[in-house]
C-alpha cells in the first residue's frame, strides 16, 4: 500500500458522481484517455467508500441540490469532504461547496466553503456568460495547478464566487472578468475548479492527470517556506 492508503487495484480507479443532467461524457472520456477507470456513484455508500471522487456539476444550482437531496447524497458528500480524501469539483461542483447561490435563492449549498455565489453583471457591457479561454492567477503554492502557468483554460458560467476574508484560505486561483473572481479553490485534498479541465485541451488533461495520480512536487519557491505543503510520494506501482 502506498502512503495515501490506496491499493494497487484501486490505483487506476476514480469514483464519479454523475447526477444525471447534462454532458458528463467529456469528463469520463478524459479519465479514460488517461488510463483510469470510472466507478459510478449509484447509492450514497458509493461516495463514502470512494478513494478519489470527481464531482462535475452541470445544470442549475437549485436543480443540482434538489437531486443531491433526493438521492441522499448530501450527507455522504459532506462526510467525504470532511475526511480529507481526494476530491475534485468542476464548475457547479465548485459552486455547490459554497453556502448558496444567487441563481437559486433560498437553496442551501453544501456549506463547506464560506461565501455565496453571485451573478456576473451584464449592465456595464460585460458579456455574460463568461465563455471562453481565460487565465489563472495562482494565489498559493500547490502542485494541483502546476502545469497551467500562463496557459488558458475554458470557462463557461454566469455565476461565480468572490474572495472574502472568510474564504481566503481556500482560494487557489483568481481570474479577471468584470472584476476578480475565484477560479479555483483548494484545502488539503479538496480541490475545485470553476473552469472545465475536460474542455481545456492538453492543459486540462494535465490537470486531471495531476489529480488522478495524486503526486505533488513542491514548487521550488515554497520548499523552504514555513507551512509548505507536505510532499506526497507518487502512488507505488507495484
Amino acid at each position: 500500500m502506498s502512503r495515501s492508503g490506496i491499493t494497487t487495484s484501486e490505483n487506476r480507479e476514480v469514483t464519479l458522481l454523475d447526477y444525471g443532467v447534462g454532458n458528463v461524457r467529456s469528463v469520463r472520456n478524459a479519465i479514460k484517455y488517461l488510463g483510469f477507470e470510472v466507478r459510478e456513484v449509484t447509492k450514497p455508500e458509493d461516495i463514502l467508500t470512494a478513494k478519489r471522487l470527481i464531482f462535475p456539476g452541470v445544470g442549475s444550482y437549485g436543480a443540482a441540490m434538489d437531486i443531491l437531496k433526493r438521492k441522499d447524497f448530501v450527507d455522504p458528500l459532506k462526510e467525504y469532504l470532511a475526511e480529507g480524501k481526494p476530491f475534485l469539483g468542476i464548475c457547479l461542483g465548485l459552486q455547490l461547496l459554497f453556502e448558496g447561490s444567487e441563481e437559486s435563492s433560498g437553496v442551501e449549498g453544501l456549506g463547506v466553503v464560506p461565501g455565496m455565489v453571485t451573478a456576473f453583471d451584464p449592465s456595464q457591457g460585460l458579456v455574460v456568460p463568461h465563455m471562453g479561454w481565460n487565465g489563472l492567477e495562482q494565489r498559493k503554492p500547490s502542485a494541483a495547478l502546476g502545469c497551467v502557468e500562463d496557459k488558458r483554460v475554458y470557462f463557461v458560467h454566469s455565476f461565480r464566487a468572490l474572495e472574502t476574508e472568510k474564504n481566503s484560505e481556500w482560494v487557489l486561483s483568481t481570474t479577471d472578468y468584470g472584476g476578480e473572481f475565484v477560479s479555483s479553490i483548494q484545502k488539503g485534498q479538496v480541490t475545485a475548479m470553476q473552469f472545465h479541465p475536460e474542455k481545456s485541451g492538453a492543459v486540462g488533461l494535465e490537470l486531471f492527470k495531476s489529480f488522478l495520480e495524486g503526486h505533488e512536487k513542491v514548487p521550488e519557491a515554497t520548499s523552504l517556506a514555513v507551512g509548505a505543503l507536505p510532499t506526497v510520494a507518487p502512488l507505488c506501482l507495484m
Binding site: G22, P122, N134, G201
Partner: protein, 317 residues
C-alpha cells in the same frame, strides 16, 4: 498581473450524408451545396471525426458540427451524427457544438420526440452546446406577436433544463437595401459601403431553410428576441458573405454584438487571418468561425492565432 478573456477561433464542419449514405464534410458556397460542375454528388472534404480531431490538434478553441440537411432529415435517421459526437468527444477536449434538426418531430413509426429529448441525446453523446436555426425565427415571431414568452419554444425548454450556455442560436441573414432609414419596420443601419443604386441604409433579413426563404424579421430583432428567450450565444452567419473569402460583414456583426449582452460568434466570409483581426478590432464579437479555409488548408488555425497575438488581440496560444 491580471488575466483576460481571449477571442476564440472556432472551426466548423458542415456535415451531411453523401449519396452513398456516408457522413462527409462539405463546404457550400453561398449555401448552394451541390457541386456545380460534374455529377450531382456532394463534395467530400474528409470524414467528420477525423477532421474534428485534426482541428483540435491544430489549436481550434472549439469545434462546431452543423448538420446542414437538418431541416430535411429526421434526427432518427441521422443517428450517425450522434456517433460522430461520441467518437469525436473521445479525443477532442475542447467544446463541441452541434446544430441541425433540434426540433419536435415524429419518426416514421409514429413515435414523437420533443426538441428537449433530441437535445438531451446530443448532450449525452458529447455535445456541450446545441445550435438552433430556423426554429428560432418562428420562436421570435411568436414572441413578438404574443408580447411575451410562451415557454414552449425549444430555446426556452432547453435553456431551462440545461442552462442558457448550452443553447446557441444560428442566424442566417441577408442584406436588404432600403431607400431611407425608416423605409421598413425593421432596425436599419447605415451601411459602410453604398448600395448598387447609391443606397445608404439597409437591414439584415432573417432567412430560414438554408437561406431559401426570407422572413419578415430582422437579425437585430431576432438577436434581442432569442436573448430574451434564454439563448446563451449567437452564431451570426451571413448569406451574402458565405464562401466568398471577402471578409466578415463588419456592419452586421457590429450591429448584433452591440444589441445583445450574450456572446456573438462571427461567421461567413473569412479568407485570411487579417479578416479575423479586422473583425475583432471593429466589433464586440467574442469569437470568429470559419469552415472552408480550414478544410481546404488555405489558412491554418495557427496562422490566425499567431496573427491575432501579433496584433495584440488576446488569443489562446
Amino acid at each position: 498581473r491580471s488575466t483576460c478573456l481571449a477571442k476564440r477561433v472556432i472551426a466548423c464542419l458542415d456535415v451531411r450524408a453523401n449519396d452513398n449514405g456516408d457522413l462527409v464534410v462539405t463546404k457550400g458556397d453561398q449555401y448552394d451545396v451541390r457541386e456545380k460542375a460534374g455529377d450531382n454528388d456532394v463534395r467530400n472534404l474528409g470524414k467528420p471525426v477525423e477532421l474534428a480531431g485534426r482541428y483540435f490538434q491544430e489549436g481550434a478553441d472549439e469545434v462546431t458540427f452543423l448538420n446542414i440537411t437538418g431541416f430535411r432529415d429526421f434526427p432518427l435517421e441521422d443517428m450517425p451524427m450522434l456517433e460522430v459526437l461520441q467518437r469525436s468527444s473521445e479525443t477532442v477536449f475542447v467544446p463541441l457544438t452541434v446544430g441541425g434538426g433540434i426540433r419536435d418531430f415524429t419518426d416514421a413509426t409514429g413515435r414523437s420526440y420533443s426538441s428537449l429529448e433530441v437535445a438531451a441525446e446530443y448532450f449525452r453523446s458529447g455535445a456541450d452546446k446545441i445550435s438552433i436555426g430556423s426554429d428560432a425565427v418562428s420562436a421570435v415571431e411568436d414572441l413578438l406577436a404574443a408580447g411575451k414568452p410562451s415557454g414552449k419554444s425549444a430555446i426556452e425548454q432547453i435553456s431551462e433544463t440545461y442552462g442558457k450556455q448550452a443553447v446557441v442560436v444560428s442566424v442566417d441573414p441577408r442584406k436588404v437595401w432600403v431607400d431611407s432609414q425608416d423605409a421598413v419596420p425593421h432596425h436599419t443601419i447605415r451601411s459602410s459601403v453604398p448600395g448598387p443604386n447609391g443606397e445608404e441604409f439597409c437591414w439584415y433579413q432573417c432567412t430560414v431553410r438554408g437561406g431559401r426563404e426570407g422572413r419578415p424579421l430582422g437579425a437585430y430583432e431576432l438577436a434581442k428576441g432569442v436573448e430574451e428567450l434564454g439563448a446563451g450565444e449567437i452564431l451570426l452567419n451571413c448569406i451574402d458573405k458565405d464562401g466568398t473569402g471577402d471578409g466578415f460583414d463588419i456592419d452586421l456583426i457590429g450591429m448584433v454584438s452591440d444589441a445583445v449582452t450574450i456572446p456573438v460568434i462571427a461567421s461567413s466570409g473569412a479568407g485570411c487571418p487579417e479578416h479575423f483581426s479586422e473583425m475583432f478590432k471593429s466589433t464586440r464579437a467574442a469569437a470568429g468561425l470559419a469552415a472552408g479555409i480550414f478544410h481546404r488548408e488555405e489558412v491554418s488555425i495557427n496562422s490566425v492565432k499567431e496573427h491575432l497575438d501579433s496584433e495584440g488581440i488576446p488569443s489562446r496560444m
